[in-house]
């Protein structure tokens, strides 16, 4: 699987945030979340980051874009309500006309879902080369005075190119949804259910000192934490069983990089050895659906992820939604 990644130019460090928030300890924030810096989209759109990640993919791997016959985009922060941002990306990348283009809206579980869609397209002979991009600029919707979300979230994109051979190296999937938790992580206003209005612009500060309006991203961190702790361990067990593998057969575990506390507690709960579990939020934070492919790219470039290794990937979050599969790296 070939991967290209891209980030916005602007970098915001914990020291930068400390200048805005009196009595806020940047080091403590780092120890708690694992994040020291994150990239912030200033003028960049999701399509800009998506295109940059795809161009990086083409450049680093010598991929032939004329062979791409399906473009999938996972994003929750599209350029427009309509049309699909994938159509804009298709045009700007100069992909051929007989190439499908499709957006789907998922966050933290989105990369796993995208692989399941790509695999379906490839094994059904609907497509022969799928370009799948995960791109998000969630920080655009975070209130400047929402410390909790501002410290954890970052923007970024990752593009992967898959053919039938890659599809054979993607194992069986476990996917799930619990829509009862839709409001644990959401941007309430801006859609048809709650159009922007004077009322949706009104800001309020919660008892934890975080300010936001209905037009900003809201996350009930506690609810999301308990959801992850309850859902991910059985999800991993189910996926191992579906793939007829044991936990010891897995060389690397790459979970959605939510935050350090959630990841460490999941690792402990599942019993994954520390040296097989990847955590790296330090210089980019939680980039939503892009965290898993960004992590895979880092692991491959560092030499920790090599051909023949088995990698279990798990995404979980907004929706609430979750997904898991096992890749045989090639």
């Amino acid at each position: 699987m070939k991967i290209g990644v891209a980030f916005p130019e602007t970098i915001l460090t914990n020291d930068d945030l400390a200048k805005e928030y009196p009595n806020w300890d940047p080091q403590k924030a780092f120890e708690s979340t694992g994040v020291w810096a994150r990239h912030i989209a200033k003028g960049e759109l999701v399509s800009d980051l998506a295109i940059a990640s795809a161009l990086k993919l083409f450049e680093e791997n010598g991929a032939d874009k004329s062979e791409i016959d399906f473009l999938l985009l996972c994003t929750q922060t599209p350029d427009y309500i309509e049309p699909a941002t994938s159509c804009i990306i298709h045009e700007k990348l100069g992909l051929k006309k007989n190439c499908g283009a499709l957006d789907f809206s998922l966050g933290c579980s989105g990369f796993v879902y995208g692989l399941s869609l790509a695999k379906g397209l490839l094994v059904s002979d609907t497509a022969t080369n799928v370009l799948f991009i995960a791109s998000d600029i969630s920080t655009k919707y975070v209130n400047r005075m929402d410390k909790a979300n501002r410290v954890v979230l970052g923007d970024g994109a990752a593009a992967v190119l898959l053919d039938a051979d890659d599809a054979r190296n993607i194992g069986a999937f476990s996917l799930g949804t619990d829509g009862s938790g839709w409001d644990c992580l959401c941007i309430p206003a801006g859609g048809a259910a709650m159009p922007y209005s004077e009322e949706t612009k009104i800001e309020a500060t919660d008892f934890q000192g975080n300010t936001r309006s209905k037009e900003n991203l809201f996350m009930d961190g506690t609810a999301v934490y308990f959801f992850a702790i309850d859902t991910v361990p059985p999800l991993v067990a189910e996926t191992l069983e579906k793939n007829e593998l044991q936990i010891d057969d897995i060389d690397l575990f790459v979970f959605h990089q939510a935050n350090k506390t959630i990841l460490n507690n999941l690792r402990e709960a599942i019993g994954i050895p520390e040296d097989k579990f990847y955590i790296n939020l330090t210089d980019k934070g939680n980039t939503s659906e892009a965290t898993i492919p960004i992590a895979l790219s880092e692991l491959e470039k560092s030499g920790r992820l090599r051909t023949g290794m088995r990698v279990l990937i798990a995404g979980f979050g907004v929706g609430l939604s979750w997904g898991c599969t096992i890749l045989k790296w090639k």
Binding site: N23, W24, D25, K28, A29, E31, S32, T33, K147, A148, F207, Q208, G209, N210, D220, G221, T222, A223, Y225, F226, I229, T261, N265
Partner: protein
Amino acid sequence: MDIKEKQALFEEVLGYEGEPLQPAEKLQEVIEWDSMGIFAFIVMLDKKYDKRIKLPDVVRLETVQDALDLMHTE
């Protein structure tokens, strides 16, 4: 775990390093009782005491003593 040990654990979880907190102290006046501190407290209650509380439960806590009172197994 006696009250002093509980208090020490509470301070450690919040990352509080000042003079020992007084039971009657208002949580809203403790700088470390912010979103990160509250999250760490809730995670600790779950892991150590097998007790789950939600954010609305946290809103009702007024003093350090209120928080300490939650630190026991049902």
